[in-house]
Amino acid sequence: MTERIIQVDALARVEGEGALYVRLRGREVEKVEFRIFEPPRFFEAFLRGRDALETPDITSRICGICPIAYIMSACQGIEMALGVDVSPEIDALRRLIYCGEWIQSHTLHAVMLHAPDFLGLDDAIQIAQSHPDLVRTGLRLKKIGNSVMECIGGRAVHPVNTRVGGFYRAPDRAAVRALVPELEWGAKAARDLTLAFAEFDYPDDEFDYTFVSLIHPDVYPILEGRIGSNRGLDIAVPDFNDNFVEEHVARSTALQGRMRDGSAYLVGPLARYANNFDRLSPDCQATAREAGLGPVVRNPFKSILVRLIEVQYACEEAARLARAYEPPDPAFVAASPRAGEGHGCTEAPRGICYHTYRLDAEGRIEHAQIVPPTSQNQPQIEADLARVVADNLDLADKDLKWRCEQTIRNYDPCISCSTHFLKLQVDRV
């Protein structure tokens, strides 16, 4: 019986650091570990005793790629605890800046980090030599997302204009309206990229996932709705902990999310898409059909296409919101300190990001819990790896390793957010 070990000590083209270890005995997959050992940073601990109003600025530092997700989930949680209701105009502006984050984060991943896998290249710089227009389009699209974040938030990484209750200052109408032409171009560019990427050679792989996302009867959810699944889950955000658990395993500084019954689930673009396909715009649905996708996509390697369809959606939605923009007045709702408990859940580019906080009478944090998307996906990533390895035993180690890395990158894992590190090792025993 030969032992075969495949190992990647430091995964590339992911945000943060992680590793993978796979051990095979003959044709049997003995062990698969997707490790996150980014040094722990203890956000939930050092938030204790801080003024609740500081929470969005502090938690945004969990992740430089998706700061808006942390800012917005924190704002929702603290606002619920303090009994603050924001106006529809503030909600609309929040949705607009969040679209900017989806555009920049998804484009970064799809074009610069994930596409090289399908083209057999190391990085976007190599793509720039073979397909210069593709990289130029990708960079312009990514810049649109950053422009939205800068226009509303002041800067793209860790915006400063967002706060509990709304915004410090409502951006000028003219500055927001000026975003529209590029966003309109972006929606078309994202559609073209989806159709071009649909021609890639996709590994034949499907799995019947439990898709968990926000669900909403009227809009494709970003900041609104209940938490639901394709298997009938339909709960209010505050019931998160009654339905999901976080486990601490030895190989990881990120806690792993599971359903109460111990099963793995998937969050992110595939889940949002499957649970809310009907709320995508007709144009986005048309792009999906032309790219050969049905209303549910079960091949994880095609997540790159769904991500690009979400870029098209986010561009269309941001353009709609920018055209209709009226500066919220007041720009924020002031909050007085009080004891309370609150919950927030929004759709980070990588999937739902759940926060809950308990505050004392002075409005200081007594307890904080933050559940980022990648830690929820970690058990499902391991299950995908075991399946992909078992289905591809005849590949040479080098190719199997590449396929494994690609399987992980399907999730756009944001390892710094799991407050955490990853290595790939395949052991053929």
Binding site: E15, E17, A45, I125
Partner: protein, 255 residues
């Protein structure tokens, strides 16, 4: 002439400062032409061994393993430049330096015995010699481009250590503290972010760390007159640059 070899390294951080390099959408391809990107895990699978002409280091030192790793990187690097508040001051995770890290571990993890971590989060310069420190949480794209350009040209980057107040004056931003009584760290914070917070009517919250020779006690006295309580004064200096000596000392004086 061969292009200088660039390496980008990550320690404990949020990835935002590395991302700022990828956010240079208009300049990225020019940078890739001017430099040989030999090691940049966030962006490429191509990994080339040192030595490196320039190493950009993001993140702080929080584990014994990382304390070793930064020494190896220093040995392989001609110029080692740190980028961002984590690398230059220990980052937000340096809040553990003021607390009991074992209690922190118990608060977050069910199995504290699985977690290996140092009691402190410290700047790279506390471990190895650093050639230049670029401040910010996150760093500014413009300063990062200036840093790369200057390093390629063999000159010192033009990164002033003056206060945020200077940026307000130059931009014509009305002083939020004088005009509206809004607490602001601008007088003691290094300029460079682009005058972001005061321009939206918000007090500076210190992303770029202490300016050169800051008079923090004078500012604290004024902040107290504006109504800030001792716990607030302690916390206002204790955020992303909590580990910077000037801010750390001032925050401890209100503990």
């Amino acid at each position: 002439m061969p292009r200088p070899k660039l390496a980008v390294w990550k320690f404990a951080s949020c990835d935002g400062c590395q991302l700022t390099l990828l956010d240079c959408e208009d300049e990225l391809l020019a940078i890739a032409e001017a430099l040989d990107i030999a090691h940049f895990l966030e962006a490429t699978s191509s990994i080339n061994d040192g030595p490196y002409d320039i190493s950009l280091v993001e993140g702080s030192i929080t584990t014994a393993h990382d304390a070793e790793r930064i020494r190896t990187i220093r040995d392989q690097s001609h110029k080692l430049i740190t980028i961002g508040a984590c690398a230059t001051a220990g980052g937000i995770q340096a809040l553990r330096n003021f607390a009991d890290v074992e209690a922190f571990t118990r608060a977050v993890y069910a199995h504290p015995e699985y977690i290996e971590t140092l009691a402190t989060s410290t700047a790279i310069a506390d471990h190895v010699q650093v050639d230049f420190e670029l401040r910010g949480c996150p760093v500014s794209k413009h300063q990062l481009l200036e840093l790369i350009t200057a390093t390629l040209a063999g000159r010192r980057p033009n990164v002033p250590r003056e206060s945020q107040c200077m940026e307000c004056k130059r931009n014509g931003t009305v002083c939020v503290m004088v005009a509206r009584g809004t607490p602001c760290l601008g007088p003691v914070t290094q300029a460079g972010c682009g005058n972001l917070c005061p321009a939206v009517g918000r007090g500076c919250y210190g992303c770029f760390g202490p300016k050169e020779t800051p008079n923090t006690s004078a500012l604290s006295a004024r902040l107290a007159e504006l109504g800030m309580q001792p716990a607030q004064l302690r916390d206002v200096y204790r955020s992303f640059n909590a580990g910077a000596p000037d801010f750390s000392k001032e925050s401890l004086s209100h503990d």
